[in-house]
């Protein structure tokens, strides 16, 4: 995102807004991650407790998703930067 069109007061405000949004986005990521991993890993309801198999699956799911998410974010940023550059050359 290009913030150069904004005044410094506006930029300061944007930073605050962005921080709040990041907090919100993180919580959203977190709750969707729990849902995603629970859906993939937990399918036995003969007991309330997590089996060791379910525990392992949940941990792997959470860790793997964070790695996936980092990679996807890096690619997204690259592609986005490339496309903005192309648009400015037009």
């Amino acid at each position: 995102m290009d913030m150069s069109g904004l005044s410094s007061a506006e930029q300061a405000q944007m930073v605050q807004i962005i921080e709040k949004k990041q907090m919100r986005d993180f919580m959203n990521l977190y709750s969707s991650l729990v849902e995603r991993c629970f859906t993939s890993c937990c399918n036995d309801f003969t007991s309330r407790a997590l089996s060791s198999k379910e525990e392992g699956c949940l941990k792997n799911c959470a860790e793997k998703f964070m790695k996936y998410s980092e990679r996807a974010g890096a690619r997204f940023a690259e592609e986005n930067a490339e496309q903005m550059q192309k648009q400015q050359q037009k």
């Binding site: 907090m23 919100r24 993180f26 919580m27 959203n28 977190y30 709750s31 969707s32 991650l33 729990v34 849902e35 991993c37 629970f38 859906t39 890993c41 937990c42 399918n43 309801f45 003969t46 007991s47 309330r48 407790a49 997590l50 379910e54 525990e55 949940l58 941990k59 799911c61 959470a62 860790e63 964070m66």
Partner: protein, 98 residues
């Protein structure tokens, strides 16, 4: 949304704290809605031959809700230890009051 409609006129109100409480409430609602949707998919027969939860479905629901809480805790802990291993300080405790 319009949740804070009145909060700007209010003398002596601490908007920060109301916002934080509001934020927590939204978060819990979000978790609850996702849990309701997950456990419905896991436990409830959707042929809808009748309107009652069977005994088996009821027991499944109770365990599913309990297990969802356990999963929530474990995922929170996993993210924390990953963040700590990456050099950060983690998030202190599980990212939500649940």
């Amino acid at each position: 949304m319009s949740f804070f409609g009145g909060s700007r006129n209010g003398g002596g109100l601490n908007n920060e704290r109301i916002e934080a409480a509001m934020h927590e409430m939204e978060m819990i609602t979000d978790v609850f809605n996702r849990m309701v949707s997950s456990c419905h998919a896991k436990c409830v027969n959707t042929r809808y031959a009748d309107a009652e939860l069977s005994k088996g479905e009821s027991v499944c629901v109770d365990r599913c809700i309990g297990k969802y809480f356990e999963a929530n805790k474990l995922v929170g802990e996993t993210l924390n230890s990953t963040a700590q291993a990456a050099g950060g300080g983690g998030m202190g405790s599980s990212p939500m009051g649940m």
